[in-house]
């Protein structure tokens, strides 16, 4: 008697895996093991609506009890997976329970990096619902908020805190915000929007310490704050795989089908490192909502005997103030950029590689003004299309016509 398909991790990838196993016709047992005491919920609202909404928040459930009954899946909550015995195909849990698996999916996600400087333990981080609930209450009782790190999480929380009326300072050590994966022109728009909203932006500024009443900068200046929040990246949760002797390369090393070196163990989501066939088999690890969803779909299909490669174009979004930015593909692979102005406030930067192929698209604008064109760009990227610069730059040339042309 086995526990069938076993999933470790109760985030988006884990929840999606349950749904897709059933949608694919699998009828055996499904067991998910999650560290959190909550059923799987959606994380994107944690940095935004969860903090700003006037009414008491509740999790945006991905699965609830009735869905689990109809899916005939078991979710073990509030328990950590301790080790894998690959020879006997057994997963051992911290509470002494053991599960035997036919196939195992590791979807353990990532955990926020902690500040390591003096007083770093005073900084809060945001990853799960409990963090969000805590930040919501703390920010609402804070006159001044200091945010360490000008990445997506930090900037989204900055926008939310500002909306609640707190004095907000963002401190970024790099010369500009969003250094990783966002082109300068778009980062500049985001930076200006935060300043217009009254956020104090301190870029190119190192830190020397976190104190109980604020942050000490490298140059000795003190920024007073009632709460300090760190958004300085996340570390993939690979300990379980490493303990089992599986390779790790900034994430659990998988092949293009999201399988590890062990034919019965797969990985998906933030913890998964895989070669991307669309980008020269470059090894990637993506921390993104859509990636977690799509990888769970592919991994579960392959757990059931498929051999499908994961080739989805990387895509993510961030909402800050009234602006939404979306990035598709791998902008960093581009050597040339082409700008398409959609309206006064909305534009897309296309990234082309040396051969002229479209490899990325980065857009920003109010509301969902750039969504449609970024989606079309994503489809062009997926086809390895190489549209002419002039056509990309000309907003009167529909991207859909390039796709069909």
């Amino acid at each position: 008697m086995t526990n069938g398909m076993v999933i470790v991790g109760g985030g988006m990838a884990g929840a999606r895996a349950i749904v897709n196993l059933r949608a694919s016709g699998y009828e055996g047992a499904i067991t998910l093991v999650g560290e959190e005491t909550l059923l799987p919920y959606d994380r994107p609202p944690l940095s935004k609506a969860m903090i700003t909404d006037e009414q008491e928040p509740q999790p945006a459930w991905l699965l609830d009890e009735s869905m689990l009954v109809s899916l005939n899946a078991t979710v073990l909550r509030g328990v950590r997976a301790k080790s894998i015995d690959r020879a006997s195909k057994t997963l051992h849990l911290e509470d002494g329970v053991s599960l035997s698996y036919e196939k195992l999916l590791i979807a353990t996600g990532a955990k926020p990096r902690r500040l390591t400087l003096p007083g770093g333990e005073l900084g809060y981080t945001l990853r799960d619902y409990a963090d969000g609930d805590h930040l919501r209450n703390r920010i609402r009782n804070s006159a001044a908020v200091a945010i360490i790190g000008g990445g997506f999480i930090g900037l989204e929380v900055a926008a939310s805190a500002r909306k609640l009326g707190a004095a907000v300072t963002v401190i970024e050590a790099q010369p500009r915000i969003l250094m990783r994966g966002v082109p300068q022109e778009i980062a500049d728009v985001v930076h200006a929007r935060h300043e217009a909203a009254g956020v104090a932006m301190q870029v190119g500024t190192g830190l020397s310490a976190i104190e109980i009443d604020g942050v000490v900068l490298a140059d000795g200046r003190k920024i007073k704050a009632d709460i300090v929040i760190a958004g300085i990246g996340a570390t993939p949760q690979t300990a379980l795989a490493e303990q089992a002797g599986l390779a790790v390369d900034n994430g659990i090393t998988c092949d293009a089908t999201l399988r590890t070196a062990d034919a019965d163990i797969f990985a998906a989501g933030d913890c998964c490192s895989f070669p991307h066939q669309l980008f020269g088999n470059k090894r990637m690890r993506l921390e993104a909502w859509r990636n977690a969803t799509d990888q769970a779909n592919v991994a579960t299909e392959n757990m059931l005997g498929g051999s499908k490669a994961y080739t989805a174009v990387p895509w993510f979004w961030s909402d800050q103030h009234d602006l939404s930015l979306q990035i598709a593909g791998v902008p960093g692979d581009g050597v040339e950029t082409v700008r398409r102005q959609l309206s006064d406030q909305a534009f897309i930067i296309f990234h082309r590689d040396a051969s002229g192929r479209l490899v990325g698209a980065s857009g920003i604008g109010p509301g969902n003004s750039i969504a449609r064109d970024v989606k079309l760009a994503e489809m062009l990227i997926a086809r390895s299309a190489a549209p002419a610069s002039a056509a990309l730059a000309d907003a009167s040339v529909g991207l859909k016509s390039l796709l069909k042309g």
Partner: protein, 104 residues
């Protein structure tokens, strides 16, 4: 009871495209298909209440601009994650270059 409302002119929407139409405190999405037929659905995605008119129409599918939920706009049928609730659809007729929808 049928209640036909003029939503837009026939030529206000390109083929294989979508337009937003607000009426009586509600928002609708009006579609023109590649084979030049008109359809109407609720204007907001069933997942997170995003305006579908900002989304992309490909063939008979509308994709939500936020999380890529997909619907067949002819039937309202949800076509997979993250959406699982179908969109409500409304009868449409074209009368002398005008597109009317039955919101009754």
């Amino acid at each position: 009871m049928a209640q036909w409302i003029e939503a837009c002119g026939k030529d206000d929407i390109d083929e294989e495209d979508v337009m937003r139409f607000d009426h009586g405190g509600k928002t609708y999405a009006i579609y023109r298909s590649p084979d030049d037929k008109f359809y109407a659905t609720d204007g907001l995605c069933t997942h997170e209440k995003i305006h579908l008119a900002d989304g992309l129409v490909m063939d008979n599918i509308i994709e939500c601009p936020k999380h890529n939920g997909r619907f067949d706009y002819r039937t309202g049928e949800a076509k997979g994650a993250p959406v699982c609730i179908n969109l409500k659809t409304y009868p449409v007729k074209v009368d002398g270059g005008k597109v009317l929808i039955d919101v009754g």
